[in-house]
């Protein structure tokens, strides 16, 4: 078997696909088997492994997220220390931003400035997406122990500021001024804020996971928090049961309805005062089940359709379920290993 045969390139991009969703498949740590899938939401066709097939290049090791800016997609590949860039129409490789320690998400400030959150760098990296260069850093280092150094995760915009949540072994939300790239404020939230969105009324929604038994930082009931972005004060808290592990907070296109996974998929109107309600029931809420369960969630900003990914056993191609805005099943398709995040074209 000639090794070269594995690396041939192929044209896989669908012609004139107007609307679709990219599925970022994390892959297994140290296996370099992260992959990118594309699903055409009009034709219901799925195209797997598009980055590898188009370019003869593996996407990398542990792909976390994808962000689209103009016609380019920026895929943050955590354990490869880089952001891979592709053309979202023909899937061709367009370059990379390298030199990142443990990158998680990329957020564009303008055409020449973007922030990249990082698990280990003790800083947010500032990059120039046009030049594909690392240009600076926003230092988050403090005098606490090495593990309590504000690993940043998601980034959301608020006027000339961004908020970022510090998830792993942390409990902070940071506010950063995007003019002078400096931290201007921070607030303490419940343990391990894992995901975060900003609704249309400028309320910041934070979902914490509460840690786990034996976690040195603590172990508590996870929380869904509504925070007033202007004052950075908590307006409402909804606590889950201890031992729950909510994740995947998402917003619809009108930014007035929240979705998240807590075993089942929940939906919650941002103005509602009542508890979040079950939107889609998971078939695997039995804790004795052998793996399976919702792993990633995406909400189509145009149609408010909900996509939920199941990574099954994490070592085989996962499955994505597409539901209408009314939770009616629309389609089911198989993607790559550990489908974790969605990026709508």
């Amino acid at each position: 078997m000639k090794d070269d045969e594995l690396w041939q390139r192929a044209e896989v991009a669908p012609a004139d696909s107007r609307s679709g969703v990219f599925i970022v498949n994390e892959g297994n740590f140290m296996y370099n088997n992260a992959s990118l899938s594309y699903y055409d939401t009009e034709t219901n066709e799925v195209y797997n492994d598009i980055f590898f097939n188009t370019n003869g290049l593996p996407l990398g090791d542990v792909a976390i997220s994808m962000t689209i800016r103009d016609s380019l997609g920026y895929i943050v590949v955590n354990n490869s220390g880089k952001v891979n860039i592709l053309d979202i129409n023909n899937f061709e490789y367009r370059g990379k931003i390298t030199g990142l320690t443990s990158p998680r998400y990329i957020h564009f400030i303008n055409d020449t400035k973007a922030y990249v959150s990082d698990l280990y760098a003790q800083a947010i990296s500032i990059v120039n997406p046009a030049l594909r260069e690392l240009t600076g850093r926003i230092d988050l280092r403090n005098n606490a122990s090495p593990y309590n150094q504000h690993p940043t995760e998601q980034i959301v915009a608020y006027g000339n500021y961004v908020f970022t949540n510090c998830w792993s072994f942390d409990n902070k939300i940071m506010k950063i001024d995007t003019y002078n790239d400096s931290v201007v404020d921070s607030m303490e939230v419940y343990l391990q804020p894992r995901s975060m969105v900003m609704d249309r009324y400028n309320s910041l929604w934070v979902l914490t996971d509460g840690g786990y038994e034996g976690n040195p930082l603590g172990y508590e009931a996870p929380a869904l928090m509504r925070i007033d972005a202007a004052t950075m004060s908590t307006e409402m808290v909804w606590r889950f049961d201890k031992g729950d592990w909510p994740s995947g907070l998402g917003l619809n296109g009108r930014r007035d309805t929240l979705y998240f996974i807590n075993g089942d998929v929940y939906r919650h109107s941002v103005l509602s005062e009542s508890a979040p309600e079950i939107f889609i029931e998971s078939p695997y809420n039995d804790s004795a089940a052998a793996g399976g369960g919702f792993y990633g969630l995406g909400v189509d900003p145009y149609s408010s359709e909900v996509y939920v990914a199941d990574a099954i056993d994490n070592v085989q191609p996962g499955v994505v379920y597409r539901y209408s805005h009314a939770a009616v099943p629309v389609d089911t398709f198989r993607v790559g290993i550990m489908p974790g995040s969605f990026c709508f074209k």
Partner: protein, 665 residues
């Protein structure tokens, strides 16, 4: 008469020592010690497939690690993470923790993971190596659902003073040094071995994980990269003292200490900062064992005590601007075992032989990541009692029955029974049918039970029910010896523990898999000489179907009925060795069929390991000058410069060389 029986027992027990001596004396000659007729038809191993690795193979692989030897010269599949890196064994399609490994009768599987890293066992320290396939391992310990590997050291009572020094120099700045000295008489023997291995391991490869866009034509170009951060260094000592006060007693004291440091290369697609994502792993092992064997008129009593300790540190560091190298993982673990064993063998009337034994082990694990503060501290007390009886009926039939009863932390495990027989098919000929049926259990490892987060204290032991049958043949004509064996096995393992992603976001071990492992093992050897030409050929083939029939409760799960990841369906090896006068020539061939990395067995180009074959060649010469024997050997690994993978996207070295110089007296 009784005295005679005792003498025979003594001779039998020292036969292994004679083999060890054979190794010393046969560096480049071909007196092959294969499974002899006596070995093939022994009541004590009725129905068992036990193979002793040829001394010639141990000699040929002297500069290798046990992982290299087993992967090339046995039916065991070794999953190697690269040259000098973690290597685990899969026996008959089972998990690495299903392979029990012992050193001089002491289990060396770590209590934390239940596994052994075969890359850390150098062949220098091995005198005798035997492999118990499948249920044959029950004679020594429970838990070897795949089988067991036994490493032994033996005294050579005829030796007065001998030694050897070996120097290996190889590609990628590889240096191996080994010194062994033995001294003694018929009462006392002292052996010391010292070794040191180093390799920068910095081979180059086309990095398919990275592409640069050519500014001219716009095409993608893969860089030629160096396998950075893959160095390893190992040094160790093996000290043995044997004392024989009279003809009935042997006392021994053995210590094996080793320090190993290595770094693991980053993902090939890594393009982060040069001085980040750096790791190193250090392990320090101490293994001390004392034994006393007493031979009565028709009995043997053996007492063994041992203490094992392992410290394992793993550090992952990143360069933080303004702060230097900061660890993000600093994991330190200490594991220890205090093991005591007593065994008794008695020859009774009518040729019935009885064995009984009791093993007690106390294990302690303490592990802590000093960065995150996570870890656990746990201990376990294990008792294993054993009774076995075997008998030869006429000269055609051997039968053996064994029972093992384990107790872990006060909990009784179900009984482990074994029934096996040998039947000589043709009177007076070495053609033997062997078969056995058995049930075995394996305890979860302490990591399975207590790891933070995810450890599951409610895990049940893994259960294996297996049956096997085989034919063994041995024959010789003038100057030629041929032997062959064929074994068919079927093993049904339930409550198989795997770590799966739990709904809480971290991985948890569960007793969910059921694996049916079925296969065939074929081994054959031919050796002999004509004139000054000596030759030996050993070949093996394994068909290993190891299929998951576990829980089907998850919608969309495509893993049911599929081959386990990383287990090749077909594997084969051939080793040939020729010598003519002072010259020798060796050729090693290995073949592995495709391996899957997804539980659903996808043949996507990205997630699949294609079949490969490997050819190694060696040429040597040996010359005696006065009392000294000098030898030199050149080994060429991967002579066809094949690109191959043992782990997804982990590059393996191309053609590389090793020169071995040895001086013996």
């Amino acid at each position: 008469m009784k005295r005679k029986a005792a003498l025979i027992l003594l001779i039998l027990s020292l036969a292994a020592g004679a083999r060890a001596q054979g190794i010393r004396d046969s560096v480049f000659s071909v007196p092959v010690v294969k499974v002899t007729a006596g070995d093939m038809f022994r009541p004590a191993s009725a129905g068992m497939k036990e193979s002793r690795v040829d001394s010639i193979i141990i000699t040929e692989k002297i500069s290798s690690s046990l992982s290299g030897l087993l992967s090339e010269n046995s039916n065991i599949f070794i999953k190697s993470h690269g040259r000098g890196a973690l290597a685990t064994a899969s026996f008959r399609g089972t998990a690495p923790s299903h392979t029990q490994v012992s050193w001089n009768g002491i289990e060396i599987n770590t209590p934390m993971s239940g596994m052994v890293d075969f890359s850390l066992i150098p062949v220098y320290i091995i005198d005798g190596l035997s492999i118990s396939h499948g249920s044959a391992s029950i004679a020594r310990h429970s838990g070897g659902l795949g089988g067991s590997v036994e490493i032994s050291n033996e005294a050579d009572w005829s030796d007065t003073f001998s030694g050897r020094y070996m120097q290996g120099i190889g590609s990628y700045s590889t240096f191996d040094e080994y010194l062994g000295i033995s001294a003694g008489n018929r009462k006392l023997q002292v052996k010391t071995r010292l070794y040191h291995n180093y390799s920068a391991n910095d081979y180059t490869f086309v990095n398919r994980g990275i592409a640069n866009i050519d500014p001219g034509g716009g095409q993608l170009v893969n860089p030629i990269d160096t396998n950075h951060n893959a160095s390893y260094i190992r040094y160790g000592i093996l000290q043995e003292i044997y004392f024989r006060p009279g003809s009935r007693d042997i006392l021994s004291l053995k210590y094996w200490g080793q320090d190993s440091k290595r770094t693991l290369p980053r993902a090939t697609s890594y393009e982060g900062p040069d001085n980040s994502n750096l790791n190193n792993q250090q392990s320090r092992d101490h293994r001390l064992t004392a034994s006393w064997e007493h031979y009565g008129d028709s009995s043997r009593l053996q007492l063994r005590t041992a203490y094992t300790a392992k410290d394992l540190d793993y550090v992952l560091k990143n360069n933080i601007y303004g702060a230097g190298l900061i660890p993000v993982i600093y994991s330190q673990s200490s594991q220890s075992g205090f093991i005591n064993k007593v065994s008794y063998r008695l020859n009774m009337k009518h040729g019935v032989k009885l064995e009984a034994g009791l093993d007690a082990g106390f294990y302690n694990v303490s592990t802590l990541d000093t960065v995150s503060g996570t870890g656990y501290e746990q201990s376990r007390f294990e008792l294993s009692s054993f009774v076995g009886v075997h008998r030869q009926f006429a000269d055609r039939l051997n039968i053996r029955i064994m029972m093992r009863q384990d107790l872990a932390d006060g909990q009784l495990l179900p009984l482990i029974p074994y029934l096996g027989f040998d039947y000589r098919l043709l009177r007076g000929h070495d053609l033997v049918l062997k078969a056995n049926i058995a049930r075995n259990y394996r305890q979860p490892s302490l990591n399975d039970l207590y790891w933070e987060p995810g450890g599951n204290p409610g895990l049940e032991p893994e259960k294996g029910v297996s049956a096997e049958a085989g034919l063994e043949f041995s024959g010789s004509t003038a100057g030629q010896k041929i032997d062959a064996e064929l074994t068919l096995y079927r093993s049904d393992i339930s409550n198989w523990i795997i770590w799966i992603p739990g709904y809480k976001g971290y991985w948890e071990p569960r007793n969910i898999k059921r694996v049916l492992s079925q296969g065939l093992e074929l081994n054959a050897g031919l050796s002999g000489s004509t004139g000054r030409l000596g030759y030996s050929i050993n070949a093996g083939y394994a068909y290993t179907s190891s299929v998951n029939y576990g829980d089907t409760g998850v919608w969309g799960d495509e893993s049911y009925g599929k081959q386990l990841v990383y287990v090749p369906l077909h594997s084969a090896n051939v080793m040939t060795k020729f010598n003519y006068g002072i010259f020798s020539l060796g050729w090693q061939y290995n073949y592995y069929s495709e391996r899957f990395t997804t539980s659903s067995n996808d043949i996507s180009r990205r997630d699949w390991l294609y079949p490969y074959f490997m050819n190694d060649l060696s040429a040597g010469m040996e010359k005696e000058i006065k009392n000294l024997t000098l030898s030199a050997e050149l080994k060429v690994y991967n002579i066809f410069n094949e690109t191959y993978h043992s782990i997804l996207y982990r590059p393996m070295p191309g053609r590389n060389y090793m020169l071995i110089l040895m001086i013996k007296f």
